[in-house]
Structure formats: structure tokens, C-alpha cells
Amino acid sequence: MERSSYPSEIPIFEFPGGIHPQENKQLSNRSPIAKLPLAKELVINLKGQAGNRSIPCVAVGEQVLKGQLIAKSDGIFSSYQHAPTSGKIIAIEKRPIAHTSGLEDLCIVLSADGDERWVELSPAEDFTALCRKQILARIFESGIVGLGGASFPSHIKLQREDGIDTLIINAAECEPYISCDDRLLQDNTDEVLKGAQIISHLYKDLNIIVGIEDNKPSAIEALKAARTKLRMTFDIAVVPTKYPSGGEKQLIQLIAGKEVTHGKLPADLGLVMHNVATCFAIYEAIIQDKPITDRVVTLTGKACGKPGNYRIPIGTPIKHLLESTQTLKSQKLIMGGPMMGFEIQSINAGIVKATNCIIMADSNELKPEQTSLPCIRCGECMNACPASLLPQQLYWHAKADEFDKTEEYNLFDCIECGACAYVCPSDIPLVQFYRYAKSNIRNNRVEKIKADNARERHEARLDRIERVKLEKAEKHRKAAEARRKAAEASGQADAKKAAVAAALARVQAKKEANHEASNSHQADKTKEPKA
């Protein structure tokens, strides 16, 4: 692939490990971003972002306009969702979603009327007039999440203000096949850069660096031209093409030469990083008042009839994408890239905000699933790991279900980039082992919290039973005391004797009553009304 002859404007450092897989970006990055015909039905996954499920705020049968709010954030860790087009809500139900498990989850189903009528928008040409709070609120209400793939709610990432001095725009796009950020930088350069300016304005003024791999010469040219045109100041850090240079921690290491260590955030180093597509979405949200209703998706793969980059409404079913690109005989569908993506289980699932690429692969395109051979302890995985972990050690422990040991070997620093599995001569599905261990550890944590909760409730119950018992005893004792006092007051010297006599009389009366009851059937019936 063509490499940029353009040198980096700032010194570039290195990160450990990494691999050089076949790039295959030329399949899709030749033509400008296009549009596809609108799908008849959109399936909007309510858990389409990191965090909790959004809460629907429309009713079935309701007419909605494009950009109208249809689901709210849960208020803690979630994001807003908007109608991707105008039409009618026809269902809010469980539908297949784009997830490795192939499970169903709650979705809003929108039947498009094809008019694309927008809600009333109030564009704000001058974002500098808005204060930080207003911009953050608008970002939140526009449902903006990290569009690089993690879909972490952006307003949370932008919350921390103090100590931040540098904004890195992540344009590395290191994963093979994907070219949506590359194309967005070429076709919408000004908008992306204005988005970056808005983020910079949020922190008063930030030092902006665009991190980009050297396999995108046209995007670098476009950035340079736009910089002169917009009279902006920012540095272009051209990093050598090596997977996974686009990982947040890896790109920071490349540009800042500093490592985001275990348990730390980029913000601890004074950095904040946003993806190209996120900057574009922020521009649209603030300047044009448009929430996220669509995103640029790379449709590619050798089986794809019309590969390229398209602006696709959120919730468009994959089936529709196959039909409108005239893809007939795809063997395998991957959402995301070939390294970190996953196989699509149902073509009825809709795309989500995190969907940056769909690979429609033919039979000999991707590495076939091979039988794994035993680990020969070659250590290649260790050399390839960009996080400086010991993949082999993690593999042994995950295989033996020794999850605490995997945590000791910093399993949670693994970014699941797949470099280790790529270089493994025995074709061991290493990442799958790490995911297995991670999901088990997470589940165990949830179960532990539940167990602790159950223990607390059980103990509270035992305490309550004990307390009620004591209270009852106390009440009886007090009543007895009161009776005794009353008897004393009424002047009966031998109160005790009288009490004994009274008790005897009561017993006698009861005996007689019982005798009578046993003779009568009616009494039995009244005793057990439920029988």
C-alpha cells in the first residue's frame, strides 16, 4: 500500500509488540462517502452503547420525526437515542441484536415513511458563545458516544476538566479493511476539525494533535489543506503503520512517549483522546443541532458487491445492507474489523453507533478456523503483545479456570487486539480464552455482590425475628407487672393465690368448651375455614 512521504510534525515514539497484517483498505477507500436507499424498517438496539440500556420514551404507534428523542439515558451510565428517520414506531420488543451471543434484546422498531422529515433544529453557528455546561449538555442530549468502536458515552469522558492540556484526535484506524475515518477525514475535513475545536473550547484551549497512520496520505494532505484554510494550529503525528497503533493506550505511547499504566486513565497524563467520527458527531450536534442518527460505515470484503463507505442510519438491518450492495454469496459476515470484530449471528440485527465496518467475506478471504495444535511455548505471542503482557501465561491459567491467577497476570490490561492469536503458530484462539476468563471474573463479581446482599438480608431478618421475640417478652412482662400492681393496689393481700385461682378457673372453662366443640361438627368447620 502507498505510504505517506509526509514526515511527522512531532517526534514519534514506539510501543512494544504489534503486527503487520494485510491491510486490504484499498477495497473501500477509493470512493467518497455515499448513501444507500433507506431501509423500510429500522431496528434500534436500546443497548447499542457501552453501559446500561436506554429507556424508551415513545409509545408503539407513535409518529416520530427524524432526530426526535426516542429513548433516554438511565441517568447513570447510558446515552440518548434518536429516531434515525421519520416514521412510525411499530414495536418495542425483543429482536436479534448484533452481538456475539446471538441473543435477543429490547429494540425499538421504526417503520420509515421515507420523507426524512427532521424535527425542528436550532443551529448555533458560533459555538464560542456557549459555555462548557451547555456544550456538555448538548453532547449528552445528542446521544454522542465514542464512535471508534467502544461507544463509551462522550459526555462522561469529557467531564473531567482539570489538568488536561492536550487533545489527541485518533485517526490511526489501524485495523485492516476499515476506512471510514480515512474517508471522513478526506470528505468532511473541516467539520471534523471544527469538532476538535469545540472539544478544545470545552477546556478553554488545548494543544491539538492528530494521530494518523502513514497509510493515509490523502487524509494527511486534506488535513494540511484544511489547517491553512481554517487558520488552525495543530500538529499531525504521522505514525508508522503497525497494528494496533489506534488503540488508545498505544497511540498515546506513540505520540506522548508515556505509558498509561495499569488502572490509570489518559486524563491522568493530561490527555484526552477522541475519534475522528466522534469529532464529526460533536460538530453536527453543536453547530447543526443534529443528534446522532447515522454514521459512516465501511462496507467491504471480497463478497461485497459495492464496497465503499456509506452514511447509514442507525438501526439499518444488515440484511438491507447486503441487498442494497448486491451482495449475494457472502460466506461470513463480520461486524468490526477482522482482528477485533465478531461474526454476525443474525442478518436481521440493526447496526449500532459502534458499528464502523461490516466485512462481507467470501470463502477464501479470512483465515479459516483451524484445529488448534498444542502450545509449543515459542513465546511469539509475548513479542507481539502491545500491552506487554504474558499471553501464554494468561492462556494456561484461563484454560485451567484459574481466574485469580489470570488477574495476577493483569488480564484486564489486555485490549483483546488479537495480535497474539495472529502470530500463534499453533492457531490457538487465545483472545477467546481471555474473553472467557474476563466474562467469568465479571460474572463472579456480580454474583459476589448478590451473595453479600443476600447475607445482609438474611442477617437482618434473623435480627428482626430476635428483636420481635424480645419485644413480645418485654410486653408480656410489663403486662404481668401491671396486673400485679393493679392487684396490689386493689388491696388484695394474697394476689398470688387469687391469680392461681383465676388461672385454674380459666383452664376449667376451656376444657368444658373443648368438650362441647368436639361433639359438634360445626365447630370443626369454623376452625378451618380454608380447608
Binding site: 443497548k47 453479600d452 447475607r455
Partner: protein, 186 residues
């Protein structure tokens, strides 16, 4: 002379150490039995009583006093392994007499059949059933441990134990199967 000096020195040392130990015993006194709490932490807190004890804590106490570690079906084999690791004992298979390991379940009251007798409420070890006399009862799903204790007291058999359906948030990755075929080297 030397002998007496030695005796005095040791006596004084003994007194000093005794005082330090005595002080430490009072100052750093540990409430309860820490090993019981550690065992209790490992137990699943279902409070189901399948072990033969009236709850997880009593069973933890029994284990600390030498009872077998394989009497907890909800904890399963993983639980036995965790207990074995904690106590330095050997992991033994689950005692089948106590029941078998089942997938997580929760109680469900068929509400239109409920007569409001409160018997299940009294049986629930974690207060996960809500209701009042002669009024409908229902299970607080998030608090139910699936212990089965409410099923038996119900006079109208309107409580079902249902398996918890898998959702996106409870879904787990499976361990990849490595079907490695070794050929005998002759």
C-alpha cells in the same frame, strides 16, 4: 552468680513479653471467628438449608469445626474447590444426597392463584417475598436466591421455580474447545 543473673534476665524478659502479648490480645482483639467469616464469604448465601444447617453461616461454623466441605449444592463443584483452596483440604465431589448443582433459578408466584396466607413470606430467608395477609404476594426477583424454601409451605402450590433466562448482561463466553488429536508415536 551467673545462674541467678540469667534467671533474672529471663524472668524480666518473660514479664516484658507477657505484658506486650497481653496488651496486644486486648488491643487487637478479633471479634468473632475470622475463619468462619472467610468460609461464609465463599458460600453462595442461598440460605437454602440443603446442607442440613439452618443457613450458610451455621454451615460455615460447622465446616470450621471439621464438617465436610461438599454439602452445598448451590455452590457446586466450584464452591467445593474454593473451600478446599481456602482450608487447605482436598476437593471432594459434591455430596449427592444433598442435591445436585442446578442452574440458577428464582421463585415465581402465580399471582391469581395466591390466597394470601403469608406462609411463603415466613419461610423466605432473605425477605424477598412481598405481601400481606389475604392479599396477593409476589417475589422481588432481584433479591430471590432460589432456595426453594417457599415452595413447600404454599398450601395452594402456586409457586414455581423458574430458570433465570440468559440475557446480554448475564451471557458468558465459553471456553474454546481444543479438539487436539494426538497421534500415538510408535
Amino acid at each position: 552468680m551467673d545462674l541467678i543473673t540469667a534467671i533474672i534476665v529471663f524472668a524480666v524478659l518473660a514479664l516484658i513479653f507477657g505484658a506486650v502479648l497481653g496488651f496486644a490480645a486486648v488491643k487487637f482483639k478479633v471479634e468473632g471467628d475470622p475463619i468462619v467469616d472467610q468460609i461464609n464469604d465463599v458460600l453462595p448465601q442461598t440460605q437454602c438449608g440443603q446442607c442440613g444447617y439452618p443457613g450458610c453461616k451455621p454451615y460455615a461454623e460447622a465446616i470450621a469445626n471439621g464438617d465436610e466441605i461438599n454439602k452445598c449444592p448451590p455452590g457446586g463443584e466450584a464452591g467445593v474447590k474454593a473451600l478446599a483452596d481456602l482450608l487447605g483440604r482436598e476437593a471432594i465431589p459434591l455430596d449427592e444426597e444433598r442435591g445436585e448443582e442446578k442452574p440458577p433459578r428464582i421463585a415465581y408466584i402465580r399471582e391469581d392463584e395466591c390466597i394470601g396466607c403469608t406462609k411463603c413470606i415466613q419461610a423466605c430467608p432473605v425477605d424477598a417475598i412481598l405481601g400481606a395477609p389475604k392479599l396477593m404476594h409476589t417475589v422481588i426477583v432481584d433479591e430471590c436466591t432460589g432456595c426453594d424454601l417457599c415452595v413447600e409451605p404454599c398450601p395452594v402450590d402456586c409457586i414455581d421455580m423458574l430458570e433465570v433466562p440468559q440475557t446480554i448482561s448475564t451471557w458468558k463466553w465459553q471456553q474454546p474447545e481444543l479438539d487436539i488429536n494426538f497421534k500415538e508415536v510408535s
